[in-house]
């Protein structure tokens, strides 16, 4: 093990330790913001898997996020289904949506793929609006009770933080392993040259299909966490605006690698919070900040921390 990987390892341990104790250090309000950072970064990571590693830019992540969010809301408010089956059904719903979408979308690439994802996102948004009997329409569904895990109600700020932290870490760990696995290296090969990958014996469509399904599964997990966090679900969270915000977070942090998701979500949430104290037009400030980042760090803020290009293998 060389010095660089030792220092990376110790940095990672330090970051994990910090993530574990931070709710006991910072005021409750920041714990609340950090919880938001966590599930937003998981949603962003699901996009980075597709766009950064797979070369498939997507505006459909909010649809997967929304399907699982609405399933949680519906089961928690209208049925007596308990926590664990609720989560499983919600993620399953997002995954199946991803699979159905992928079945059609793998036939396209580039801009056409982007348009397909836009269409799916809009279907989800208008579906959420129109199917009011199930989704609550414009008002959405409010008053979702805090989840009960091992007999503990995850109601307090700290409990909600840890309830979010554990699955987000698990998600990032899986993604980290995935992009170093045969599947992940091949996915990056497809990003750089799909014709060539076919000539090497890879079934590009199957690969893309699976990448979309995995991405939908992770976006679905983020949707579950978001719904429990807000205690509500509304069409606003599935809108085109939400899709663009997710894209914005990913680009801000750096869409090429997963670190970008965490950095992007952290900067976005803090920026939104600070800017909204000063002005109601906080989106203008966020926009200006984005322009600065694009001008000086076109590969995202994560690029600042990367002195040298690193290989996966």
């Amino acid at each position: 093990m060389n010095a660089e990987s030792v220092s990376r390892r110790s940095m990672l341990l330090l970051a994990l330790l910090l993530a574990a104790v931070i709710p006991w250090i910072v005021p409750n309000f920041y714990t609340f913001l950090l919880t938001k950072v966590l599930f937003l970064s998981l949603a962003s990571a699901s996009l980075i898997l597709l766009a950064g590693y797979g070369g498939m830019l997507s505006l459909a992540q909010v649809a997967f996020y929304g399907v699982s969010g609405y399933i949680v809301a519906y089961l928690a408010l209208r049925t007596g289904v308990s926590f664990l089956p609720t989560v499983i059904l919600a993620i399953l719903g997002a995954t199946i949506t991803g699979a159905l979408f992928a079945f059609i979308a793998v036939r396209t690439s580039g801009l056409y793929f982007l348009m397909m994802t836009l269409a799916l996102g809009q279907i989800a948004f208008f579906g959420a609006f129109q199917w009011a009997r199930i989704t609550g329409g414009y008002d959405g569904m409010v008053g979702i009770p805090a989840p009960v895990v091992f007999g503990q109600v995850m109601a307090s700020g700290k409990a909600a933080y840890y309830f979010t932290l554990v699955p987000v870490l698990a998600g990032f760990y899986w993604l980290h392993r995935m992009v170093r696995s045969p599947f992940g290296v091949a996915l990056q090969g497809i990003r750089d040259g799909d014709v060539r990958m076919a000539a090497l014996g890879f079934n590009v469509k199957v690969h893309r299909f699976l990448a979309i399904v995995f991405s939908a599964m992770i976006a679905g997990a983020a949707g579950v966490l978001s719904t429990y966090f807000y205690g509500m679900m509304s069409p606003q969270l599935v809108s085109l605006g939400a899709a663009v915000t997710l894209l914005f977070i990913s680009l801000l942090g750096g869409i090429a690698r997963f670190e970008g998701a965490l950095i992007g979500a952290l900067v976005f949430v803090l920026l939104e919070d600070y800017a909204s104290v000063f002005t109601a037009r906080y989106n203008t400030i966020i926009g200006l900040f984005f322009i600065l980042v694009v001008l000086f760090f076109p590969k995202g803020i994560a690029e600042i921390f990367r002195r040298k290009k690193r290989a996966v293998l």
Binding site: F183, V185, M197, A199, L200, G201
Partner: protein
């Protein structure tokens, strides 16, 4: 014509094209091509620009569908078979402009070439690290030595020179134990030194791997090929051993004339 199309395949035949044509709208890029490549052959394919050589390769590899005719590879009719399945039969190709994975390292590129040869289910393993597959990484190492890239293993392919990219591409196809290699202008754009490296590399390829090579460097074709097909405007103009081709008056007129005069023969 029909008799020729039904010519019997013997086990020695690696590739057979039966009346293969390709139209792009009104343009006939490849017209009624009939040919056979046998096991272990070094088969050169030459012709002027626009003669349809690369199109023919695209048809054989499956990157483009044929308009009419059939393609038989290792005794199997592959006319409508997708690219990745033809690859599984043992066909590999390189491109005029190397098509590599620029965002990945030399090691990862060579690794992917090997992974492509594994059973498809293994391509989808998404937990085990690719990095710990020592068997493949050892083979990657030895391939890199063969193509003189062992010092570049950790560099991004986007940072390689044109010559190194050509070497890497050959390494990628060689490491997978192909049965038939389609090489599209392996020496194009290389410096004099790189050209020598490439020539040695091609000569060192095991004789049971059949080579089908498009090349403009006549010197290279004549020294490497034991059989040459000449294409002109989408049709096969002549076929024979290098001596016959050099002596063929039609070929001299459309293609070789300049080269032969140029070498002062």
């Amino acid at each position: 014509m029909d008799e020729a199309g039904t010519e019997r395949m013997d086990t020695n035949t690696v590739l057979q094209l039966n009346s293969v044509s390709k139209n792009f709208g009104g343009l006939q890029a490849v017209c009624d091509v009939q040919m056979r490549v046998t096991h272990g052959q070094r088969h050169g394919l030459i012709g002027t620009n626009g003669a349809g050589k690369t199109t023919l390769f695209n048809l054989i590899a499956g990157d483009l569908p044929v308009s009419t005719g059939t393609i038989v590879l290792f005794g199997t009719d592959v006319t409508t078979m997708p690219v990745h399945k033809r690859t599984r039969l043992g066909l590999r190709r390189t491109y005029q402009t190397p098509a590599l994975f620029n965002g990945l390292t030399v090691r990862e590129n060579l690794y992917l070439a090997l992974l492509g040869n594994d059973p498809p289910m293994r391509h989808l393993s998404c937990w085990k690290s690719a990095f710990k597959d020592t068997e493949k990484l050892n083979l990657v190492q030895s391939t890199a030595e063969t193509v003189e890239l062992s010092r570049r293993l950790d560099d991004k392919v986007g940072d390689l020179s044109h010559g190194e990219r050509k070497q890497l591409e050959i390494g990628m196809v060689l490491s997978t134990n192909p049965r038939l290699l389609l090489l599209d202008e392996p020496a194009a754009g290389l410096s004099v030194h790189e050209r020598e490296v490439m020539k040695d590399l091609l000569r060192s390829i095991a004789s049971d791997i059949t080579l089908f090579i498009i090349e403009h460097d006549m010197d290279m074709v004549i020294h490497l090929a034991d059989r040459i097909t000449v294409m002109y405007d989408g049709v096969v103009l002549a076929e024979g051993d290098p001596k016959q081709i050099q002596a063929d008056p039609d070929v001299q007129r459309v293609y070789l004339g300049e080269a032969i005069n140029g070498t002062g023969a």
